[in-house]
Symmetry: C2
Subunit: 242 residues, 2 copies
DNA sequence: CGACAAGTTGATGTTACTCAAAAGTGGTGG
DNA sequence: CCACCACTTTTGAGTAACATCAACTTGTCG
C-alpha cells in the first residue's frame, strides 16, 4: 500500500508525512496528487540544525515543502542582532509567497535537523494542489501579520502564549494530534529571536509559566496545558473558514 | 493627450497618478495597459480619513489600487491596543497577497482621505501588468518582513529612522521625487501604532530628530534630511534587483 | 468663542535589557 | 568511565528604555 493515509472526520493525522497531512487537511486531494507528494517526499534533501537553507537574495528555484523538522525565516543584522521573521513547522510550504526565479526575500535556516522536498508543480489552477498551495500562502501571510501584532503590542508573557497558541494550531493542521499538549524543539534563544526578547527574559517568563503549570519540567519545552492559554490572549484563528 | 506620462531615465514621475507611475516603474507597461490604469483611476471610490475600507474577514472582491492618500492594514485588540501591520502609500496595491473571494486577513483603514480603484485584471500571466502585480506582492511581503525585524530588534530611534527610509524609497518608486526630503501625513499616534510604541515616546524621539536637523519644524512631519538616516540603520533595500 | 484633536512636557513606574557567574546537559575522545 | 568542551539554562543585581499618568499648549474648524 503506497499511500497509507486515511481521512477521518477530524482530518488526516500522520506525523510521518506531515506535509501530506497538512495539505490534505486544507483541501481534499486526488489520489494522484497524494502520490505526487509521496514521491516528492522521497526526493527530500536533509539539512542539519543551524545550517542555512536559503541565503537572502539567492535566486529561488521554486517552492519547497518542509517534510521534517523546523526551520525559520531570519533577518541577521551586522551587529549580531537577529530576528526570526517566521517559523516553519513540519509540513509547511517554503517560498510559497514568492515567484520562482525571484531573489529570496530573507534567509532561511534549519532550527532542527530538517528535510526539504521540492513541491510538486500544480499545473491546473483549479486542482486540489493549486488550491492547497494558495491557502498555504494565505496562511503564511496571516502568520506574518500576527507576528507583527504579537511583537508590536503584546508583553513578554502574552507573546509566548500567543506563539504557543499559533504553533498548537499549526501542528494540529499538520496532523500532529496536539489538542492541548505538545513539545517545542526550540531553544530559549530561538524563542527570544522570534519574539523580539532576550533569552534571559524568555527564561524568566517560561519559569513563571512552569510555576503556573502551563508547561512541564524538563527539556525540550513541553506544553502540558496549552488549552489554558486561550483566555489569556486576544488571538485570531489562523484559518477563519475552519 | 490621454496619457500624459513620460518615461525618463530615472523612471516615471507623476504625483497625480502615483499608481501608474509606480507600476510602470516596476515593469515597462504597454500603452493599452497604461490606458486601463487611467480608466480604472476614474472609477476610484473615495474614503475619508479614519474610515474603514475593508473589515477583517470580509470577502475580498479582488485587488485594488490606492490611487490617492494613505491607508493601513491594522489589527485592533479588544482592550483598545492597536497595531498597524502595514502602511499603504499612494499608488500601492491592495489585497494583492490574497486571492479574490478569500476572507480579508486584516482590517484596512484610511489614514488620510483616500481613493481606491479596482485593479485592471491581468489576463495574460506574462503581461506587464501581471508582472507588476507579482512584483507588488513581493514588495508587500518584504515590507511585512522588514516590519517584523524593525519592531522586534530596533530601538525607538532606529524604528523611526528605518520606517522613514522605507517610506522614502517607496515614495520614490511611486514617482514622488523624494531624494532626501518629503512630508509624512501621519499623526504621531499612527506612527506609534505602526512602530509598537506609545505616541508620547514617538513625540520625544521626533523631538530629538528635530534637534538633530533630520526633520523640520511644523506639521505635518517634514523629513528634511532623510539622507542622513542611512548610516544609522542597518537596512536592506526593498527591491534587490534595482 | 468653544470644542476637539493633536502635540508637548514633566514626573513617576515598570518592563525588559545588560552584565556576570554558576549550574546543568550532551557529546567526544582518552 | 571520566575529563573535557561547547552549548544551554538558570539566577542575581543593577540599569536603561519605554510606558503611564496627567496637565498644559497649540492648532483647526464650526
Amino acid at each position: 500500500m503506497r499511500s497509507p493515509f486515511m481521512k477521518h472526520a477530524v482530518g488526516l493525522q500522520n506525523a510521518e508525512q506531515p506535509h501530506i497531512a497538512r495539505l490534505a487537511n486544507l483541501v481534499p486531494l486526488a489520489p494522484a496528487e497524494i502520490d505526487a507528494l509521496v514521491k516528492a517526499g522521497r526526493r527530500a534533501i536533509s539539512f542539519s540544525a543551524r545550517r542555512e537553507i536559503v541565503h537572502i537574495g539567492a535566486s529561488l528555484t521554486g517552492p519547497g515543502i518542509l517534510t521534517q523538522g523546523w526551520a525559520a525565516h531570519v533577518r541577521d543584522f551586522r551587529d549580531g542582532r537577529r530576528q526570526i521573521l517566521h517559523l516553519l513547522l513540519p509540513g509547511d510550504m517554503i517560498s510559497i509567497l514568492q515567484k520562482p526565479g525571484a531573489p529570496a526575500s530573507s534567509t532561511i535556516i534549519a532550527l532542527t535537523n530538517a528535510s526539504i522536498a521540492p513541491a510538486p508543480s500544480a499545473r491546473n489552477g483549479e486542482s486540489g494542489l493549486a488550491r492547497a498551495y494558495a491557502l498555504s500562502a494565505d496562511i503564511e501571510c496571516m502568520c506574518l501579520q500576527r507576528q507583527i501584532a504579537r511583537i508590536g503590542r503584546l508583553d513578554a508573557y502574552e507573546r509566548l502564549a500567543d506563539l504557543f497558541i499559533e504553533v498548537a494550531e499549526r501542528l494540529r493542521h499538520a496532523g500532529f494530534a496536539a489538542p492541548a499538549s505538545f513539545e517545542l524543539p526550540l531553544t530559549q534563544e530561538m524563542l527570544a529571536d522570534s519574539l523580539g526578547l532576550t533569552s534571559v527574559h524568555v527564561n524568566r517568563t517560561l519559569a513563571q509559566m512552569r510555576r503556573e503549570g502551563i508547561i512541564g519540567d524538563g527539556r525540550p519545552i513541553n506544553l502540558t496545558h496549552a488549552d489554558r492559554l486561550g483566555p489569556l490572549v486576544d488571538h485570531l484563528p489562523l484559518i477563519p473558514s475552519g
